[in-house]
Symmetry: C2
Subunit: 250 residues, 2 copies
DNA sequence: GTTTTTAATTGAACGATGTTCTATAAATGT
DNA sequence: ACATTTATAGAACATCGTTCAATTAAAAAC
């Protein structure tokens, strides 16, 4: 059972006769299910092609270029699941919560795929922002707009930013505020890496938010990091939004 | 510059004459520096051999078996750095803090290697315990013993366990304690996976600790998860130890 | 001092992988 | 009818992890 099943019709049926016409969507779906079944380490383009009963080159043709591109497609496809269960009739906070629950379920079901996502939550601050933008645009594609939502996500970005600051912050033993100039500068540099043309909203809102978190962090001695922030920030965020824009027409 | 530099002496000098005698330590060190330089994705056994001016088979001979074994060696070597800066003259809480700071520095410098460590902090609860045991034994190898340290690490295990519970817990929207039976059972099953013969201490202490965290979690509505717990738990832990065993002779 | 064993290394080989290339044929457009 | 686009096959290349039968220097045994 090698390449024999690939040419199941006659002898070397080249051209379009071999199949009805594979779809990019099908390729991505097959890739996801394969990774789901056998793990990311065991995943290979050749075996994906084998499972599809098709030559490896076909995948390149559909997905274009390299393995990274396929992963980008996978990422996009999975991220699409963030909109599951969204309904225009829901109140905005319910919708917001739904998106986050979807995310958690996603990471829970595809922990191996998670690092492939734009997220890369734990490693790179800038990538986190990209991910937030991805969610944001997913929401918008679903027809959900409004300043409240944008603000909400930017607050969350601040939470993620807090995680980054934690990683850049000096050791907890050092005096408060003493060495703060350097790492705050470092963080500012990270923020500066965000292209305002690509992410105008985020790049504009981030400095202010990170400032507030900075104060919160060093006044209370509490980390507003990603790890704790997921549920906490969500509540904080919804409450904050309620207080700030109680009748926001999203 | 292919395999030509591998036989730099004469023509095909086989046997022991070819080199003075490569060391397992040297192989591991070279591997680490290569991963450090070019990243984990670009790392290959063949290129490692090339960099060492040696045939690929040599690595197999020195490290034994497969790539995983090399990674295990790398893991062990890196974990050794956890003992950096430890001094018997230090008070125990300073030593404890030092180990954790070493860990953070380590993960910060080798983020790509982190998943190779026994840690796998974010993904697998049981693996977390292994990692704690690794640190514990590293401390013991450094001459640091005592029930307080063991207790300390077990409390931290509880913190990590809390992270797992968070992942297994029902959505925050659901009523407190209503569906708690099922996921607590799930968690108990995970604990049961720990071999008491390998990790007697941990497997004995964990159920009690996880219980306490469970209560803490659902009473206060606060997650004692890994993400927030790193600094927080460390303080909590040291304070707790001070109160519990103020004159503990470590 | 000769022989035997052990430690360390080589090069060749196998199968699998990512990727690119050319050939090919169906579908579509003109 | 002919030309172009679309979708495929298959061969090819370099690389990778891994194994294995030589090979030989050094150490140990005699």
């Amino acid at each position: 059972m090698m390449t024999d099943d690939a040419r199941k019709i006659g002898s070397s049926p080249r051209g379009r006769a071999a199949a009805i016409g594979l779809d990019k969507k099908q390729v991505v779906a097959a890739a996801i299910s394969q990774i789901d079944e056998k793990g990311l380490a065991a995943f290979s383009l050749r075996e994906l092609a084998r499972a599809l009963g098709v030559s490896p080159a076909v995948i390149y043709w559909h997905v274009g270029g390299a393995k990274e591109d396929l992963f980008a497609e996978i990422s996009a496809s999975i991220t699409g699941a963030l909109s599951d269960g969204l309904d225009a009739d829901m109140p905005w906070d319910v919708r917001l919560r739904q998106v986050f629950l979807n995310y958690r379920k996603l990471v829970h079901r595809h922990p191996e795929v998670a690092p492939l996502l734009g997220a890369q939550m734990q490693s790179n601050g800038v990538a986190n922002l990209d991910w937030v933008e991805t969610i944001l645009s997913a929401l918008q594609d679903g027809g959900y707009r409004g300043d409240a939502l944008r603000l909400a996500f930017n607050v969350l970005v601040g939470g993620l930013a807090g995680f980054v600051t934690m990683e850049l912050a000096p050791a907890p033993g050092s005096k408060r505020g003493s060495d703060s100039g350097s790492w705050q500068t470092l963080f500012a540099e990270r923020i500066a890496q965000i292209d305002p043309q690509v992410y105008p909203l985020t790049s504009r809102a981030l400095p202010d938010i990170s400032n507030r978190i900075f104060v919160l962090r060093w006044q209370n001695g509490v980390d507003v990091s990603y790890g704790d922030s997921f549920e906490l920030l969500l509540d904080l965020l919804i409450d904050g939004l309620r207080a700030r824009a109680p009748a926001d027409p999203i």
